[in-house]
């Protein structure tokens, strides 16, 4: 699903966020991406989303070489990836339903079919009753769940999450992790960037660990030992 081949990312000004990263995430795999803050987790996710371009090396996502992708192909590429952001990135000028429907709207979905899918996604995250509310009226956990519903509504093949539990208490965090697990069980590949080691400890999933822009653990496809620390 994701292949990084000697990938480096240097920002203008010389700061090297990622150095020579090699790893492969298999289709249907569930992995964590961890490391101290500033280790390059967000940059790595941005490279996968094509929000940034690699300075060196090659990134393959879902069968596409991102170095060879034209600007006009980008939207179609992104439609196959669901992203959950720490700050939710919800739009407060519309209700929950319309927020979740956005990925379907941009692809020109028939509105009835879209409504069916949106309700299914909201049902999955337990917010079906709040579809008409403005997301600003929801709690942090609920907003995050709206963000997750939006990320999965068009059944992406890959789900990315950047600190999805950053502002949530442990109970809510566990709940959200369960959601990700459920999506993974139906075949979606999942990559979650988090520094919440407690979250990782309870699960037997592969852990990719970044340290100062280098991948120091988890680059082999075998399941890493849980309770990893650095």
């Amino acid at each position: 699903m994701i292949t990084f081949d000697s990938v480096s990312k240097r920002y203008p000004g010389g700061y090297e966020a990622l150095t020579n990263i090699d790893f492969h995430l298999k289709e249907g795999e569930f992995a964590f991406l961890t490391g101290h803050s500033g280790a390059g987790k967000s940059t790595l996710l941005k490279l996968i989303m094509q929000m940034e371009k690699a300075s060196a090396g090659q990134v393959f996502v879902n069968g596409k070489n991102l170095n060879r992708m034209f600007r006009r192909q980008l939207p179609f590429f992104r439609r196959n990836i669901g992203v959950v952001f720490q700050d939710h990135q919800l739009l407060f000028d519309r209700n929950v339903f319309d927020n979740v429907a956005l990925p379907l709207m941009v692809t020109g979905y028939d509105s009835r079919e879209a409504a069916r899918r949106v309700r299914a996604a909201l049902d999955k995250v337990g917010l079906l009753k709040k579809e008409n509310q403005n997301p600003i009226a929801l709690s942090g956990g609920e907003q995050q769940r709206v963000g997750i519903a939006r990320a999965v509504v068009n059944k992406p093949v890959l789900l990315l999450a950047d600190e999805p539990t950053g502002n949530l208490d442990p109970a809510l965090s566990a709940e959200i992790m369960n959601l990700f697990g459920q999506f993974n069980q139906v075949g979606t590949s999942v990559l979650i960037a988090t520094h919440d080691l407690g979250l990782i400890d309870r699960r037997k999933h592969r852990v990719l660990t970044l340290d100062n822009g280098s991948l120091i653990a988890g680059n082999s496809a075998t399941v890493a030992v849980s309770g990893h620390d650095e």
């Binding site: 292949t3 492969h24 939207p75 439609r79 990135q89 956005l102 941009v106 020109g108 028939d110 093949v157």
Partner: protein
């Protein structure tokens, strides 16, 4: 989707394409979807403008006033040209015949002139008819009664079939050589001046219209730029979930069209008001010239053209703005 076997080998391209297709699937035809999208975006853009009636009305007024000036000039010119055609006899050549010419010679001259290809039509005014007309129009009736014989020559009024007034003198000279014709008269100077004034006014209107339309395009472009800035978050999110450039720009292009159309409406209302205000004094002026010429109004087709042009200008402004600013907004 194909399973990836090796770590470094770039996976096949098929899977991504298949997924893109699947994501866009629905029962509707491609055209039906597009129409539905456009419709909802158009309605949404308009309702966004109407949600801020104050600001929108201000923009519409600016555009309307900018468009009203060339519009009024254009209408004025159109009327002037109509006045010109109603004064078309000015382009006629009057042939004053020899005094005392007999009816047969007059008829011969008439057929000879009509045979010329440059001549569309002729009107014969015999000296008797000329006398009656002169008595009616001039008020010299009684004085003429005192004369023994009719001092007026017969006149053949030639309506040329040529548009170019510059070739009238040549025709006039040729007509003068026909037997029985004493003098050919064509008042060119007056017509030249009128044509000159009209041509200048047309240029002026054209230049002004061009400048003001450019102003409208820039004003709408700038307003749309503000709209883009206001919806920056939304643009970022839409781009993140896979909205194409076309999808992202659509609401702003419609916003531009609505600004243009609204401005066109304001311009139309202003022009009609101006004409209403002018029609009274104009009618009195024309009455002084014994003319029943009246101002022609902004017709329905003119109004539709105006709205179309204004909408086009709005689209152009929005497009410029979208081209410049929308690409700069990228998720980061």
């Amino acid at each position: 989707m194909s399973r990836q076997q090796s770590v470094k080998k770039p996976p096949g391209k098929k899977s991504a394409k298949a997924n893109t297709r699947a994501a866009g699937s629905s029962g509707q035809s491609w055209f039906g979807q597009l129409f539905q999208q456009h419709q909802s975006v158009a309605v949404d853009s308009l309702s966004r403008l109407l949600q801020e009636p104050g600001a929108s009305f201000l923009t519409w007024s600016v555009i309307g006033i900018a468009l009203a000036l060339p519009l009024c000039l254009f209408l004025f010119l159109q009327n002037l040209q109509q006045l010109n055609t109603s004064l078309d006899d000015a382009g006629n050549i009057s042939l004053f015949m020899d005094l005392g010419i007999d009816e047969q010679a007059l008829e011969t001259a008439r057929t000879q002139i009509l045979a010329l290809s440059e001549v569309a039509d002729v009107t014969v005014i015999t000296s008797a008819q000329a006398l009656i007309e002169f008595q009616d129009a001039s008020g010299f009736g009684n004085a003429l009664d005192g004369l023994d014989e009719n001092p007026l020559p017969a006149v053949i009024v030639v309506n040329p079939a040529i548009d170019d007034i510059e070739s009238l003198p040549a025709l006039s000279a040729r007509l003068e050589t026909i037997a029985g014709v004493d003098l050919a008269l064509v008042d060119l100077d007056w017509m030249r001046r009128l044509y000159g004034i009209i041509a200048m006014a047309e240029r002026l209107t054209g230049g002004l219209a061009l400048l003001l339309c450019l102003g409208v395009v820039l004003a709408i472009g700038n307003t749309v730029r503000l709209a883009i800035e206001n919806r920056r978050d939304e643009i970022v999110v839409v781009k993140l979930v896979g909205g194409t450039d076309a999808y992202v720009s659509r609401p702003f292009l419609y916003t531009g069209i609505w600004f243009g159309v609204g401005g066109g409406l304001v311009a139309g209302i202003l022009a009609i008001t101006a004409f209403l205000a002018m029609s009274g004094p104009f009618a009195r002026l024309m009455a002084l010239y014994n003319s029943d010429f009246s101002l022609s109004w902004l017709g329905v087709s003119d109004l539709l053209t105006l709205l179309l042009v204004a909408g086009g200008l709005g689209l152009a402004g929005a497009w410029l703005s979208v081209l410049r600013h929308l690409r700069q907004i990228e998720p980061s």
